[in-house]
Amino acid sequence: MAETKLVKFEVLRFRPESDKEPVFETYEVPCMEDWVVLDALNAIKDDIDPTLSHRWSCRMGVCGSCGMLVNGRPVLTCAAFVRNYSGTIRVEPLSNFPIVRDLVVDLESFIEKIKSVKPWIIRKIEKDAADGEYLQSPEQLEEFKQYSMCINCALCYAACPVLASDPEFVGPAAIALAHRYNLDSRDEGNAERFERLDGHDGVYACSFANECSQVCPKHVDPAMAIQQAKLNDFLQWAKVLPKRSFT
């Protein structure tokens, strides 16, 4: 049998039917060398305390479901190796989101914000399917490609100090996505997104802490997207740029 090491985990628990506020519970988990924090949480649920609730799915850093705070920092727990931490490992739900249960947070506001920036290609007149696909050069793709790597894990929202004081701020992932579509040569929805990005809780609420980019597990740079979106927003407002896509 593979060798294991006993690791102590402090996990924030919240059971709405009995807890007035979240409390930490400690578990000692025999961890194998190649385990990630998610493996340890699954071991707690399977072998120690089946009442523990947490989200996960793909276990390979793609689905974005297993984002939590590990020792205070927002990470994907499927990519956080236990061996990289020393001493007790503290696991908490994502900050800046209400806690539904244990490590599960309410992502409704996040989904609504993403939806509000219309992250899909908008065309004034749709081409007929028989006329073929919309062509795009590699250079045109390169302009927005990094922003399309977002997996909606919400780590950037958990790290954002602006959201901590202004929960209505549209937030890093949503703005990065809006910017991604505004930069897409096939898109014509700039004007429709302008109203959402230009508002009080839009791009100008960002005070450039840069923490969103620091924690992004896919190396997207939402802070850069927001600053560039500010510039584009201003140029649209000043009518230097037409309120349409850059095609």
Binding site: P22, G72, S95, N210, Q214, A223, Q227, N232
Partner: protein, 142 residues
Amino acid sequence: MSAAHATAPKTPTAPARKPSGFPLGFYRYRNYTIFAFTSIPMAISLACLVIGVGALGQGEEAWQAWLARQATPAFRAVHLFCLAFTLYFAIRFGWVGRKIGAGRIGPLPPPPLPLPLLGIAPIGGFVTVWLVLVVILGGWLS
């Protein structure tokens, strides 16, 4: 949305928690908080300047008195304090500000120089102006 879903009571939740280590516990948040705080020392320096302009308008005697006041040890300490935060502001802004320039802004032509280089010029100018101001305000010229 189904009628049952629409009328279902909202799941009770615990309130959202602030980011761990904000505002001063974690070094990256601390750097950001100090960056935000720099507005206060910079406002103090600007207030000194505005008062100086007012003194200038009141004639030679008021201007000399204002200059003499700025050269006292207490005011020099204040100006050095403000300068330290202004330098911090410039360094931090130079670091994060690299991201502000878009590679391409709509139909506008790309800038002739790499954007980070373009960013250094205003930041360098900004720091230079503040250094000159501190030297004047602190009376080091006299």
